[in-house]
């Protein structure tokens, strides 16, 4: 049984559909990324897992417990870092970790955790006086101090500089290596590619792709990029754009750039051979997760325009 099991989740706020038909499995020991643009339903999904939101339809089980029914059991196995939530302004970092530790029967050692997260020297600093990066790390510390089996990290590195971001990534790897399963909500492709064993891409309230980052790239319509030199009079771009598996053709001077599936690449090569055109300087490469992601979330059939959910009372999607 998966550690977290989400089935056919649906949540509507007034007339706006936040999530629909969302299925998601998180297995022991994985780092699973939930990706998607703002308003895609990531936060709603995560809130349902954390028991903060009750869906209209569908089920969530965390280690077998339904979050909004058995809050106590779920909060024992699930540590949560929420993107926009804070702590009491005058609480020091050390007190915050100690407080959450006192909520649990068998917590981790707060001092050790502060040390591991590089917060020892600010243990006596009040929350309001911590830097953004320190506040983020403190949020992770409070999410981990109950020794959860799985930790939910929502927009973990938003607002961090590149160095702090890489440090945080390293930390997430260490958390997983320590045996804690990680659910990572992000809109950063690099973050997902660096960290995640599996990702689920959400758009307009649905999961539009799921798998390893490589699988998601391969499943996108334009998983391959090829380019070669062929003058316009020899080979007009229009000659290739209709081929099966070809997603797009673009001419840059003498060079043609074609994106498409693997089959599209073969189709282009056959077409060139048939016309006797030699593809000079041929380059074929996999598109990046970035490209695949944009392709997935922009496809009109999966991303119908949805009203923004700013007015929804229990939602706060990230900026």
């Amino acid at each position: 049984m998966p550690l977290i099991e989400v089935r056919d989740l649906r949540k509507t706020y007034r007339s706006a559909v936040a999530v629909e038909q969302v299925d998601l499995d998180v297995h022991d020991g994985e780092i699973v990324g939930v990706l998607g643009p703002n308003g895609a339903g990531k936060t709603t999904t995560v809130e349902c897992m954390a028991g903060l939101t009750r869906p209209d339809h569908g089920t969530v089980r965390v280690a077998g417990h339904v979050p909004w029914q058995d809050r106590r059991a779920v909060t024992r196995v699930l540590g949560v870092q929420l993107q926009s939530s804070g702590l009491q302004a005058k609480l020091t970092a050390g007190e915050a970790v100690a407080m959450v530790a006192a909520f649990h029967d068998d917590p981790a050692d707060p001092g050790e955790l502060l040390e591991r997260l590089g917060l020892r020297q600010v243990a006596d600093t009040r929350y309001a006086h911590l830097s953004g990066g320190q506040q983020q790390r403190l949020a992770i510390a409070t999410a981990l101090v109950g020794r959860p089996r799985v930790v939910l990290l929502d927009e973990l590195t938003t607002g961090l500089d590149p160095e702090a971001r890489r440090d945080t990534w390293q930390l997430v790897r260490e958390v997983r290596d320590g045996g804690t399963t990680v659910v990572l909500v992000t809109h950063l492709m690099e973050e997902a590619q660096q960290l995640c064993d599996r990702i689920a891409v959400m758009a307009a309230g649905r999961v539009v792709a799921e798998g390893t980052p490589e699988q998601v790239v391969a499943r996108s319509a334009n998983s391959t990029l090829m380019s070669f030199t062929a003058p316009a009079d020899v080979l007009p771009a229009a000659a290739l754009s209709g081929l099966p598996g070809v997603g797009g053709v673009e001419r840059r001077g003498d060079r043609l750039e074609v994106v498409g599936t693997d089959d599209g690449v073969l189709a282009v090569l056959h077409a060139l051979q048939a016309r006797g055109v030699e593809p000079v300087g041929l380059r074929v490469s996999a598109t990046t997760l970035d490209d695949a992601y944009l392709d997935l979330v922009r496809r009109p059939d999966v991303a119908p325009a949805l009203p923004r959910r700013d007015a929804a009372p229990t939602l706060q999607e990230s900026a």
């Binding site: 024992r76 929420l82 009491q88 007190e95 407080m99 068998d106 109950g146």
Partner: protein, 257 residues
């Protein structure tokens, strides 16, 4: 395994941990501590030092000006706590989503709110003891002759005023709005408690209107209990009614963010 609890592991008490944390934070609010704990007594001391204010006066039903201000100062402590100090804390917790953060742990957001109400109530009661003690020791104001009735009337008034504060805290869209609404409620409450002019010395329509407010009815009930009489049933019902209605409204209308 996480669901089972072995006998060797300690049993966590999240509610208690929240209360301990909030108590510590409460002591870091010098403004709240001053206005709730010290200001009511200071007001009494300043008035008591004015020559003649400790002489019995026919205007205040035969008691001195200072004696008339003892229950007023006590009500002032409740108002300071209920509509200025507490809404500031709770609305900030809502705005910064502290309550949601706590709700994802084994503790509940209600633990935080309960701790805030309990701590502010406790501070008010300490302040009341201080006011009564200073009134008695420094200015010879006797303790309330009908002490149980006095205590009952006061506690009901405290619940009503904390209810107003909780209602403001739980419904204001931001902490700035909460402080604005708090200020707007603050002055009428002070007036009806008799801060500017003792309620027992008011007359006519003003007195009738004030007697229908939670702090006005409480002020009249406290005056009677001070003199050894039981408060009238109407006074008790008015204060109790406000206490119930405001508490229920505060709980019903509370929005988490």
């Amino acid at each position: 395994m996480t669901a089972t609890r072995t006998t060797s592991s300690r049993r966590a008490r999240p509610g208690r941990a929240v209360l301990a944390t909030e108590a510590r934070l409460f002591l870091r609010e010098p403004g709240s501590l001053f206005w709730i704990l010290l200001f009511p007594t200071l007001l009494l001391v300043v008035l008591g030092l004015v020559p003649g204010f400790d002489e019995p006066s026919a205007e205040f039903g035969g008691v001195s000006f200072v004696a008339a201000y003892v229950p007023v100062s006590c009500l002032l402590a409740a108002i300071m706590a209920g509509v200025t100090a507490m809404p500031a804390v709770i609305s900030a917790y809502r705005e910064r989503q502290v309550l949601r953060r706590i709700a994802t742990t084994p503790a509940r957001a209600a633990h935080v709110l309960g701790a805030q109400v309990a701590l502010h109530a406790a501070a008010v009661l300490v302040s009341v003891v201080l006011v009564l003690a200073v009134g008695r020791l420094a200015f010879g104001v006797p303790l309330p002759a009908a002490l149980p009735a006095w205590a009952l009337a006061y506690l009901l008034a405290l619940v009503a005023v904390l209810g107003i504060g909780a209602l403001v805290s739980g419904t204001a869209p931001s902490s700035r709005a909460a402080s604005t609404v708090g200020t707007v409620v603050f002055f009428p409450l002070m007036f009806t408690a008799g801060v500017w002019y003792p309620v027992s010395a008011m007359s006519g329509l003003v007195r009738d209107v004030v007697a229908a407010t939670p702090t006005g009815a409480a002020a009249l009930a406290l005056d009677r209990a001070q003199a050894g009489e039981l408060p009238t049933l109407l006074q008790v019902l008015v204060v109790a009614g406000w206490a119930v209605v405001l508490s229920v409204l505060a709980v019903r209308c509370f929005r988490w963010q």
